[in-house]
Symmetry: C2
Subunit: 139 residues, 2 copies
Amino acid sequence: MSPANYNTRQGKCISDILKSDPSRHFTVEELGLRIAALGLSVGQTTIYRRLEKLVNQGEVIKYELPGGGGARFQYAGGGGGGAAEHYHLVCTRCNAVEHLECGHADELTEHLKKAHDFIIDKRKTVFFGHCSRCKAESR
Amino acid sequence: MSPANYNTRQGKCISDILKSDPSRHFTVEELGLRIAALGLSVGQTTIYRRLEKLVNQGEVIKYELPGGGGARFQYAGGGGGGAAEHYHLVCTRCNAVEHLECGHADELTEHLKKAHDFIIDKRKTVFFGHCSRCKAESR
DNA sequence: TTGCGTGCAAAGGTTTTGCATGGCA
DNA sequence: TGCCATGCAAAACCTTTGCACGCAA
């Protein structure tokens, strides 16, 4: 409930990095590198634990996507509201992630709620397929 | 391209189990147990390697979903056509997987193709959210 | 001082790889 | 006979856990 108490430099640092580039999906490894680039040294345990809290608070979204390299994390806006919600398009060939704000998708979300009693979580929902660069070579 | 050459009992066995229950999402562990139940002993390496081939041939779909327990595999119909294609709804609370055949979703797929130049792979696409049983307690 | 956050190290689980054996054509 | 599939074992990878230390209030 509380807006998170960042008592420490490390905790604030992780949050700030995610917030500084809300369109980016960070891996744990990338976060570690960015932190190091800031001259701060943070253990991986701390990164994982801090991310877990941020995810529980709704401030960060966790994606577990195929393709290896581990889970990815993206800033989602504080407290569960704020930043614009959007869907994601993920290319199963090049693993690129695109954002999608789309009325058609919203209509589908509404339909699923009414007809299938299923509540879509927009920020977690991922459409898999081939992006424009990769579709030509789809096998 | 070739319809896969199952030279061995083990290979055919894995394929048959997946085919015998196309609506089910098997984990590697479950496949091992089913194989054992048939009186056949198959190493996990073989299961992984056979699944990799089946996935590459489009005969099987691989899902890497959150929630632990490893990846899940589902029969998708031989050669990329055949079995009815469908989307999936996954509950991020109870990890239940529901099938979805839905005109609204197909419309969205068409829209994404035209407007965003993105080709949806229906069989791989997963909508995350809360199912009817879990939505009440969403936090 | 008290308590939470942190860090190192080790464990845990899933998946991949190396190399030798075995079965089918 | 030749080749591909198989199997055991070990490695690799990502993530979690245990326990002690350090910083902030």
